[in-house]
Amino acid sequence: MNEEASNMEINCVDTSARLLDLLDGSLDDIEKTLIEEHLAGCQRCRKKLDQMSGAHQFLQTELPQVTDSISAPEFLGLRIKHMLSHGNDRWQQGHRTRKVWATAAAVAILVTAALAYNLIYNTQDKPDTPPAKSTPTVAANKPEPRIIVIINPNLLKQIQRRDTMPAGLGEKAPSDDDYLPGGRLRRIRPAPQVQSPVLMVKPVQFNRDM
């Protein structure tokens, strides 16, 4: 091992790059010998190692002790739970905004779909020859295309509620069975699939006389 090491040389840059590994104890024997040989003859690198080693030891022993001695304020947990249960103002505001946007988007989609359908229906219904003169009395009696949109109210509620209920959370805290090997948490419940609340879009004819 030392024979092999003696045939190789290592400079300050290589040594510096391996100081952390040396402190972690993750160097193989050859590398360790090379580094130690270099350190024996290089004061600058030795000084650097001393500095890093002191900090490494200090942080390894002191940091966990000091950090573990910190106690959370008595009511922090309760406050967080309360906040999560009863809603935080900012969060509620965000939800209200999102709910309004979701509803507005749903309405816009429905209106657009209705208009598009109406346009297509009218284009197909009318002959290519333009009417020479308008005959309001006849038009008034002619059936006018309308669209009925049937909406499932439960699904609409589900869309509105979507942001207030975090998907994936079960009705209970996870049990031991919910943990995968290695301590990972299995997904408790798949995210609910939100279906379109529109059940049917149906063109119908209404007479204005009705």
Partner: protein, 186 residues
């Protein structure tokens, strides 16, 4: 049986299990207990909002820690934490209060305070990025690969950051050494 009226009630076990750990880590990253309280609350609020996105690829605590780091960075960029934490003298006292326990004897209290002072001095001398890595390595005892996953960069970058952090911390520690040690050394 009490009906579940709000989603928050399902999170109680998560809050109970992790709020203390998250708070401690937040304290050491922010070096300010009030900011740490806010950050801890924000973490659980974010968890509640994005729980459906938790795929179980990592442990729940690792996921919480990632969220905390993201919020910490946002907070840092918003408020320019570096200047703020270095320049505010009151923060130091505010941070020291964390380590005072009413049951401690005066000697223990002094000893604790000295230890906390040294750690706080060393951590304050580090940039937030270096502080993140130091906390994950020496407090959370994560491997380089795990740290890289949590921080979101390569293992090489993590090692480089830790190298620089240790160099800086070592220099700071030498400055903090009592004068008698310097005399012995000289």
């Amino acid at each position: 049986m009490e009906a579940k009226t709000s989603p928050g009630s399902d999170f109680e076990w998560i809050v109970d299990a992790y709020h203390e750990k998250i708070y401690r880590a937040a304290c050491m990253l922010l070096m300010n207990r009030h900011e740490a309280e806010d950050l801890t609350q924000d973490v659980f609020l974010a968890v509640m909002k994005s729980y459906s996105r938790f795929r179980g690829d990592s442990s729940l605590y690792t996921w919480l820690y990632k969220i905390m780091l993201n919020l910490f960075r946002k907070r840092r960029s918003k408020r320019k934490l570096l200047q703020w934490s270095f320049n505010q003298g009151d923060d130091r006292q505010d941070f020291d209060v964390l380590f005072i326990d009413e049951g401690d004897s005066p000697e223990t209290a002094v000893e604790k305070a000295e230890r906390a002072h040294r750690i706080a001095d060393v951590l304050r001398g580090l940039s937030p990025k270096h502080r993140e890595v130091v906390m994950l390595r020496f407090y959370e005892e994560k491997s380089y690969r795990e740290i890289a996953d949590v921080v979101g960069c390569s293992e090489g970058t993590i090692k480089s950051r830790l190298h620089h952090a240790l160099k800086q911390a070592g220099g700071r520690l030498q400055d903090l050494k009592p004068s008698r040690n310097r005399e012995q050394g000289g």
